[in-house]
């Protein structure tokens, strides 16, 4: 086996990641907005006698970088031995994409130019004459539909023959160096290779998308549409998710009864209190997570999210941010960690840090199960309004955080928006299904590893010394809880809630499983909690859970993305302070 390095280069939203997935069989996330890939990703591909390391580089308009993600691409090409470049080109925007192709050709590295989205070009009634393109550029060319993995075999053949006998590009023209000349050359090529398909009509969808944009980009209706879309997303999440979760709950209760028959008291207690009560309750909420992520994939895959950035730009400017920052904030509803990484695509450091510090207040899917379980136990069908209020509170705190940051730390005006508006695409179900499944799998994995281990550990602390009675005040956990609970006592939390919040720092879902362990008795967790905690306290508790320190993974990604301890500690300190104050105020109001 010979080892080779193949790099994928292309402009933003040209379909590099789709091609990467198709080539390597990995499940990297694909979206329809520029800047999905902010970091280079690697995958392996075995072809003939080659072991190929495939590198997916962030999208770049030009080889001279403008933002941080773009410099990753340039630095990689400069500093590494790349055997072959796959330059992926959006066939529907040939002239602009060929601009980058020409720059890459000048590097004199063997290259295959891959024309993606041949289907969309066809919709426009056009096609590329590949042999002529091959002759002009003097490199192998091929055409694919990356989203549907079409044309991949053909490309693989090209890759292996290029690796066997690498050839420098031999274009039929001299590659210019000036931007304007490069474009002129690109235009010439485009004119030479594009032909009309006779008798082809332009698709109806195009007109429909244009109508949609009249609303989606309207200064008044645009934000309203966005609000409606978000409300619809959450409504479906709760209504459909709730129905499915009910079924699962019946199963979980049966499991509990089954476990209760085990004779050995210690094992019984571990299974019943630890596993079923802790991990089981976390798994119960999978339907909510799955539906939420499904909708987020839809938002991203269709290209709608870019429109949101445009219509919200004016609003975001009040916080010294521009519209693009709203993308990480919305994604924060899914999971804070990738959302914070997305902030890398923002042009300036100030904006990036501001956005990163705002994201943790966007209520992530890890907090959702806690809200769902508690509100349905305490408020029944009215619970959904409480959840809505909690989400709004989170957004409000994020906005206040943004305002304070721009008044105190970053006084400079936010830079100007400069972003490509990607065309709408019909969601591709395989793509959406795959990305949703990946997220659900991560959630199950988390429940099976971190949450499982911590739950068992907590059970252990609650069970011993065995004379103390499970989860009693004299158990180890009781003593720990009692020691630290005075900090949150003014908010009305008992020591069990304190412990739950403490373990919630590792992962927010743990708040739930910890409560499951500590309040375990006979009957469902919901009814047990209802009996043990007054409903006014539970609202305060949920507010605190929403706002206090984001989970460990989020904190560490804040550290790595801002590259400073200062911002990490500021984020932790600020969120604790806000959580305490807001909770206290809420307590006063509720009472």
């Amino acid at each position: 086996m010979t080892k080779k390095v193949v790099a994928l280069i292309g402009q933003p939203n040209s379909g590099k990641t789709s091609l990467f997935n198709a080539l390597t069989g990995s499940n990297q996330f694909v979206g329809n907005w520029p800047g999905v890939t902010v970091e280079k990703k690697e995958g392996l591909l075995t072809l003939d006698s080659f072991e190929i390391q495939v590198i997916d580089l962030p999208g770049s308009y030009s080889l001279t970088p403008y933002s941080m993600e773009e410099s990753i691409t340039r630095d990689f090409i400069r500093d590494n031995q790349v055997d072959l470049i796959l330059n992926i080109v959006d066939s529907t925007h040939l002239e602009r994409h060929l601009f980058l192709t020409l720059q890459v050709l000048a590097l004199k590295i063997p290259i295959i130019v891959v024309f993606n989205m041949a289907d969309e070009l066809k919709e426009e009634g056009k096609q590329i004459v590949l042999p002529e393109m091959q002759r002009l550029l003097g490199v192998p060319v091929t055409s694919i539909i990356a989203r549907e993995s079409k044309g991949i075999e053909c490309l693989q053949n090209e890759i292996s023959s290029s690796l066997r006998s690498p050839k420098e590009p031999r274009p039929t023209f001299k590659i210019p160096t000036e931007t304007a000349d490069l474009y002129q050359q690109a235009k010439k090529i485009e004119e030479a290779v594009l032909t009309m398909i006779p008798g082809k009509r332009i698709s109806r969808w195009k007109a429909f998308w244009e109508h949609l944009d009249h609303v989606a980009l309207h200064p008044v209706f645009g934000p309203i549409l966005f609000l409606l879309v978000m409300c619809f997303t959450f409504w479906i999440t709760f209504s459909v998710g709730g129905k499915i979760a009910d079924f699962l709950e019946i199963g979980l209760e049966k499991l509990g009864i089954l476990v209760a028959r085990i004779p050995d008291p210690m094992i019984k207690s571990l299974l019943k209190n630890g596993i079923v009560g802790g991990v089981g309750n976390v798994l119960l909420l999978i339907p909510y997570i799955a539906i939420l992520f499904l909708f987020f994939s839809l938002l991203e895959d269709s290209g709608y999210i870019g429109r949101v950035a445009y219509v919200m730009d004016r609003f975001m400017h009040h916080m010294g941010l521009h519209g693009k920052s709203i993308i990480p904030l919305i994604l924060g509803f899914g999971c804070n960690v990738p959302a914070i990484m997305t902030a890398r695509a923002l042009e300036t450091e100030d904006e990036k840090i501001k956005t990163i510090l705002m994201v943790p207040f966007m209520s992530c899917s890890g907090r959702l199960p806690i809200f769902v379980l508690f509100t349905s136990a305490f408020f029944g069908s009215r619970g959904i309004f409480i959840i809505l209020l909690l989400y709004l509170l989170g957004i409000l705190v994020a906005i206040i955080t943004g305002l304070i940051l721009s008044k105190v730390f970053f006084k400079e005006q936010s830079p100007e928006l400069m972003m490509e508006l990607s065309p709408y695409r019909l969601p591709y179900w395989k793509n959406i299904g795959r990305s949703t499944w990946t997220k659900v799998k991560q959630y199950i994995y988390k429940a099976g590893t971190l949450i499982f281990l911590v739950t068992v550990f907590l059970w252990f602390l609650s069970y011993f010394p065995s004379s103390s009675g499970f989860g009693g005040e004299k158990s180890i956990i009781g003593i720990i809880g009692k020691t630290i609970s005075p900090i949150v006592a003014p908010l009305g939390f008992d020591w069990k809630m304190t412990i739950a919040l403490l373990s919630g720092f590792l992962a927010k879902e743990l708040v739930l499983s910890t409560m499951g362990v500590l309040y375990m008795g006979t009957g469902s967790l919901a009814s047990l909690l209802h009996a043990a905690i007054p409903s006014s306290t539970i609202i305060v508790f949920l507010v605190f859970t929403l706002l206090y320190v984001p989970c460990l993974a989020t904190v560490s990604v804040i550290r790595s993305e801002t590259n400073s301890n200062k911002w990490m500690f500021l984020s932790i300190g600020w969120s604790l302070l806000v959580a305490w104050i807001v909770s206290f105020v809420v307590k006063l109001i509720v009472n």
Binding site: Y61, S62, T64, Y66, T92, H93, E95, R96, F99, T179, A180, Y183, L217, P219, G306, A309, Y310, D313, R314, H317, H322, G323, P415, E416, L417, M418, M419, E420, L421, P423
Partner: protein
């Protein structure tokens, strides 16, 4: 105003005719002087209120500056035409002599000369007419953010700060190319169609992209 300051104002006026904002480097190239002396002149002219907004090496001419500049330029044009058309002086010398005389000639002589030239060649009336035409062209150059949605315009000059300018060129916003304004809502960013791609561009960037409306 001294002779040399008048020269500067005239140069700025002429450069401004086809691009609205003018760079210090362009002035020093046109007058063949160092940029330090250009900067000194700019300070003087700013004090006199003829130019404004000196930022990142860009200069904008004020309304008073425009009138004063136009006056000098029209004297120049008139004198040059007199030397060329009436006295049959070579174009190069006509231009050079006009440049020297324009600063010192009295108002009375100028108005007599206008009358004479109008009588001499009534078809091509007074120099002001020519300047009016130039001025109209000047007015047709507008910043992109003042173009209504749905209009096609030609890019005249991308006068943004260097790094943004470079990026805009790379995105395909080339001078002389045609672009379409897709959305312009008075506030907030614009959507501009460049080479078949819809780009969202901040209003501030657009205000520095000068375009010419098609007829």
């Amino acid at each position: 105003m001294t002779k040399s300051l008048e020269d500067y104002l005239e140069a700025i006026y002429f450069l401004g005719l086809d691009q609205k904002v003018v760079r210090v480097s362009e002035i020093s190239r046109k007058l063949n002087v160092s940029s330090a002396s250009v900067n000194n002149a700019i300070k003087e002219l700013t004090k006199l209120g003829y130019i404004s907004h000196v930022k990142y090496g860009f200069i904008e001419i004020t309304e008073t500056g425009l009138v004063a500049g136009k006056k000098i330029a029209s004297k120049h044009h008139l004198l040059k035409r007199f030397f060329e058309k009436v006295l049959h002086v070579s174009e190069k010398n006509a231009d050079k002599d006009a440049c020297s005389i324009e600063h010192f000639i009295s108002e009375e002589s100028i108005s007599r000369l206008i009358d004479f030239m109008d009588g001499f060649d009534p078809h091509e009336s007074c120099s002001d007419h020519v300047l009016e035409v130039l001025d109209q062209e000047h007015k047709r150059v507008k910043p992109l953010d003042r173009i209504q949605a749905g209009k096609q315009v030609n890019v005249f000059k991308v006068a943004c700060a260097d790094c943004i300018r470079k990026r805009m060129l790379e995105l395909g916003l080339l001078e002389k190319d045609s672009v379409e304004v897709v959305k312009n809502e008075k506030v907030g960013p614009l959507i501009v169609r460049i080479k078949g791609c819809n780009m969202v561009l901040g209003r501030g960037i657009c205000s520095k992209i000068l375009v010419q409306e098609n007829d």
